[in-house]
Symmetry: C2
Subunit: 712 residues, 2 copies
């Protein structure tokens, strides 16, 4: 290793290429920091490799892939990474191939259970306790029982699943923390599921040119202010084969979010939100009768309320659950008594709880991630709920991911920081006097693969400036050109996203630098990335500053970034560009049209152009409807700014973008054509909202070339 | 006038802009040569102005617009150009407003006849003799009789008109000289019409983004090798209200072209062509019974036969008609005896008859346009059919348009030549010994509006080079940069079309220069335009050289043009670009991908990329079907050449191009993306195969900018 490091120092003149830095590039994998793949087998940490599963701390082999396939009598596992050890203490390995799910006892040397997976099964939701599998197929919802019996859930009298009536899939376009449509009860014998009626929703025509003669798919897409879909929640009882429908309160187009089962399976809790998104209730329903049992609490706000997380019941008290709320302005944990609806705030302060990780059941602690130390970090904390005491676990820097053991007494902590590519450790988690979290083992401290392989690495820094309000700190990342010479003046590109639910700057490796930024640095550009007001993890007020006028405050903040850049002697203010995708495409187009004297070149990807073409759920949260806020929609519409375009702006989109539908970009082109301005365009047929694989490399070659053509 | 000319010389430094040279530009109209609008009133030449109709030769006023509206009691005429004098010798003016068609007797001072036009009536076909009006509406065909009775023609049992069954419209996608779908009998009492069943034809999805939520129209588009539509011909008898269907011979997807009525209305002649387009028959049907009466003649060819013109019966002999055929290799006139099917060739030689203008009935002459003098010209000839004698009428130069008087003894001749912007004259037409055509009056000799208004005009020349076969002459136009200095080296752009049924170089004003070429000349480019083999008016062999391998010979010829350009000291061979639209877009993309070392920059508009995406009628004529000619389709497909792209190629298309459907361009993009090459793209939402109005100006600004960016 020492020799290797030396030789790399000698040849440390390699320039990063797109093949190196893009995930679709052919050398990307070789430039990733070393990794180890871990999981918990009950309370035993295990590691998977391509060949085997072994104990993480001792290295003791548990079972090999070869042995599992031998027992199964066929090649069910292709790699140790496909193997799950679902039951602590039991020598059971679960493997899923395309056709079946198999549990193998590697001690007994036999298959102890298996279940065929129906062809084409989507959205598979397998319950480890009952071994029932829920899945969807073409709008319908099915269950395969542990015994292999196949049941169709979605027979509701005459209305089976279709493109119009969709069962068991994620609803409300994945907003409000929703990412799936089936929810097993704790014992795995009842299945809560969504049923979405979108027959009344308009469809966007998506053209598929890969067919002999281009075809069209009508993709249901509720646009802001237009008729939205209607969702119901059913409870399917596997034993009785009966479905009970919840008698949901509210209007047909309300949002029913974050379904949470009571530990005993008798109640289902639903966070109900009105379409205007300013009135939320937590409602309990009987899973037997479907009837309303209790309206536990209500949260209202002038702008909007956004429930993003369900209830997590205390493993030791079935009447108490952890709830998350931004009611005090920051996302914090609350202890909810579900018998009374009373809440007790658990965390306080001008920071955000980013994730509830789980519980240490032995010591009655709750584990969570928050950015209390620095808005750019995400660190792990253990909070004792009996004798309130909160303790940091692991390094107080960087961005952490935590995986708890079965009883929560141990955690596998993974993090990176600006200078640490990857660190994996095991810690205890008790936040108890005299028994504070301690390091069990350092599993991996990855070295810098870029440095080791002799690449020139740009200087990457982070800092803060004041927002346009003069008060708020905004964090930026700056990537300087390689061979930086502060006597020179460099063309500078602002990369921007700027929308809610995302950020670009955090204390990850390289300050979260994107590969393309490193590539641009090798081409002699300075890159600047600023998380403006409206972006993620900075509290409610920070986010809601943009309410009903998306783009305006965000741009003001970005222009503070520009002011800062112009104060730097090595930034060439005559050669400033901007690039962003999605909300960042909106920002890019907006900045190009609003500050034509500042930005000479822009590349906008998959942009929003007019919020009336965006979806109901996200769009109306921030903008209300076009009917409620006509002035806001007009002011924020880039159709009205198309006439101001002066610099070079290339818009790039996936030809079949189902998120920011092509109507955005095409309407902007039409507006430019009518106004006599000249944007540029590119598209990826078959591409969606983002490009992947080789398209990603092609795309970034394209983006880079555009700056090379017009900014360099 | 002399003073004016002098002052323009003094200020002759104005540079042409796109607003000057594009028809959508705001100064285009002012730069058009002076014009006079004429028509025949029987054998009296008349001129229309905005205010009145007057005799052309005497200037005597016949009637004013004001007077007609006064008589009509409403504003039916908005300009003299809307007025038709349909009946020679009778003081009747016919005017059509949006709502009605009116005939006014200006001597009697009263409306003598009028007919309401139903709302939305399309494809209006009004017969001056019977005064019946045929029109279509949403797939259906109707007749309004002279008396104002409304009849629906398209009731064929259960099958009324629809998107699938279309009555009375042009069929076979306007190929084979077809431009309409209704054909009145000579007495105007019977209506022959097409009925097209396209229910079995696949549809191309055209997305309309101008709606609140983008919508889609399924546009029936038969692609090469795929199922085509099926056409029938009906005869509707206005008196009996009955439709007789012709019992057409041949296969259901044969082509039924150039419907021609016998003078007595008892027969309808149809040029029937098989789908393979190599076997044509002229067939006579009884219009009473619909039955086949006679298979008059047959023309076959290894490659293809292309009937483009119907029969024109001699006004003095109902058994004889003029037919056009390329059977000897050039388009010539034949005298057909319809009782025997025997033909007699009337014109001979290595030139093409371009148009049969009509007959001088008094002297039994046939008038036609041909390019016998020079392939670039189109001159008017009178051929005596009794004592064969052929005489040129008017100037033996330029490109002529001719309009015959009622008895054909006089003609209004309009032409331009490279140095003559517009000349209008009246001639006699007899080609009889001692009574040869003579000039009656010079009506207009327009001066050069560009020169008069003080614009710098580039030097425009035409010449010929040899084709790649070493034998054939090809004609080119060259437009030199303004302020041309032969010591300098100029960036050079080849403009190309290259496909059949069109040409770019002829002996019109400015050698047929397009306005954009003049604009490019002001920007310092040299333009070169060459009509390669495959293009128009050069005979069958010249056209058919490209059979089953479109693009290959065409490119070889264009490369001869490049060789010629490279021989010129003032052409910069390192700065060569290419631009073309439609077939020219195909050529441009092809040249960019086939000769990446020659062409640095290309702009391809609405290109064909793979002939399998083009329509049955045109595509299969030149390429056969993909099933018959798989190697040819593969060799000619630009999808296979996408990987060779090196230079800068921008493809531009109308987003709703119904001719070269977007699948062409999008498939090419996909191929480039997969191959890692980088074309550029632009599109006009709502635009079709060509751009009009302001879009045209925008488009050419865009095209010019691309060359400025990368070629200059």
């Amino acid at each position: 290793m020492a020799l290797m490091l030396m030789s790399s120092v000698v040849f440390a003149q390699k320039l990063l290429t797109l093949e190196d830095v893009m995930s679709g590039g052919n050398n990307w994998y070789n430039l990733q920091p070393e990794n180890r793949y871990t999981q918990w087998w009950g309370n035993v940490a295990v590691e998977t490799t391509y060949e085997e599963v072994k104990e993480l701390l001792t290295g003791k082999s548990l079972v090999t892939v070869e042995r599992i396939n031998e027992i199964a009598g066929e090649k069910v596992a292709t790699s140790g990474h496909n193997i799950l050890l679902p039951y602590g203490g039991q020598p059971i390995a679960q493997v899923r191939s395309g056709k079946k799910r198999v549990q193998v006892d590697w001690k007994l040397g036999k298959v102890v259970w298996s279940q065929d997976i129906p062809q084409g099964a989507e959205n598979q939701d397998f319950n480890l306790k009952s071994k029932h599998l829920a899945y969807t197929l073409q709008g319908n919802l099915y269950v395969v029982t542990a015994d292999g019996e196949s049941l169709q859930v979605s027979t509701d009298g005459s209305t089976d699943g279709s493109d119009n009536i969709v069962y068991g899939r994620s609803v409300h376009r994945d907003e409000f923390g929703i990412s799936k449509g089936t929810f097993w009860s704790p014992d795995g014998e009842k299945l809560a599921f969504y049923r979405m009626d979108q027959s009344m929703v308009a469809a966007y025509p998506q053209v598929d040119i890969s067919q002999r003669i281009a075809g069209v798919t009508m993709d249901k897409y509720p646009m802001a202010g237009e008729t939205s879909h209607q969702v119901k929640v059913g409870i399917f009882d596997v034993k009785t084969r009966k479905t009970t429908w919840l008698q949901l309160i509210g209007a047909p187009d309300d949002y029913h979010t974050n379904l949470s089962w009571a530990p005993d399976g008798k109640r289902l809790y639903v966070f109900e939100l009105n379409r205007d998104q300013n009135d939320m209730q937590l409602v309990a329903y009987s899973t037997e009768s479907g009837k309303l049992e209790n309206q536990l609490l209500q949260e209202c706000h002038d702008k909007y309320v956004e429930p993003m997380n369900g209830l997590e019941f205390l493993p030791w008290d079935a009447n108490k659950a952890i709830m998350q709320s931004r009611r005090d302005g920051w996302n914090h944990l609350y202890l909810l008594d579900v018998t009374t609806g009373k809440t007790e705030q658990l965390t306080y302060g001008n920071f955000e709880v980013q994730q509830l990780v789980g519980f240490n059941t032995k010591d009655k602690c709750v584990l969570y991630l928050s950015n209390a130390l620095d808005p750019r970090t995400s660190c792990l904390y253990s909070l004792n709920l009996v004798k309130p005491r909160c303790t940091l676990i692991g390094a107080g820097e960087g961005v952490h991911y935590a995986s708890l053991s079965q009883d929560g007494t141990m955690v596998i902590d993974r993090y990176s920081s600006p200078s640490v590519p990857r660190c994996i450790s095991v810690y205890t988690t008790a936040s108890v006097r005299g028994r504070l979290p301690k390091l069990v083992a350092n599993v991996l401290m990855a070295t810098d693969p870029w440095l080791e392989q002799g690449y020139k690495i740009p200087e990457i820094t982070s800092g803060s400036i004041k927002a346009a309000d003069g008060v708020t700190d905004l964090y930026y990342r700056m990537v300087k050109p390689i061979d930086f010479d502060e006597e020179k003046k460099y063309p500078t590109v602002v990369y921007v996203y700027g929308g809610p639910h995302a950020h670009n700057v955090d204390a990850r490796w390289h300050w979260c630098m994107r590969g393309w930024e490193a590539y641009m640095a090798t081409k002699g550009y300075l890159l600047f990335i600023l998380d403006n007001r409206g972006s993620e993890w900075r509290g409610r007020e920070f986010e809601q500053a943009t309410f009903r006028r998306l783009g305006e405050e965000e741009m003001k903040d970005q222009m503070e970034g520009v002011k800062f850049l112009k104060s730097l002697p090595y930034v060439d203010a005559d050669r400033m560009g901007v690039h962003g995708w999605s909300f960042g495409g909106f920002m890019t187009t907006n900045l190009m049209c609003t500050y034509p004297d500042v930005f000479k070149v822009g590349v906008a990807g998959g942009p929003v152009i007019d919020w009336k073409y965006y979806e109901v759920m996200y769009g109306e949260r921030y903008m209300d409807t076009p009917q409620q806020n006509p002035e806001g929609y007009e002011r924020c519409s880039l159709l009205n700014k198309a006439k101001n375009l002066q610099g070079r702006l290339q818009i790039i989109l996936g030809y079949n973008d189902p998120t920011c539908v092509p109507q955005h970009t095409l309407s902007f082109l039409r507006a430019c054509e009518d106004a006599g301005t000249q944007p540029d365009l590119f598209t990826y047929p078959g591409g969606g909202h983002n490009m992947f694989g080789r398209d990603q490399v092609h795309l970034h070659e394209r983006i880079t070339r555009y700056f090379d053509d017009y900014l360099k």
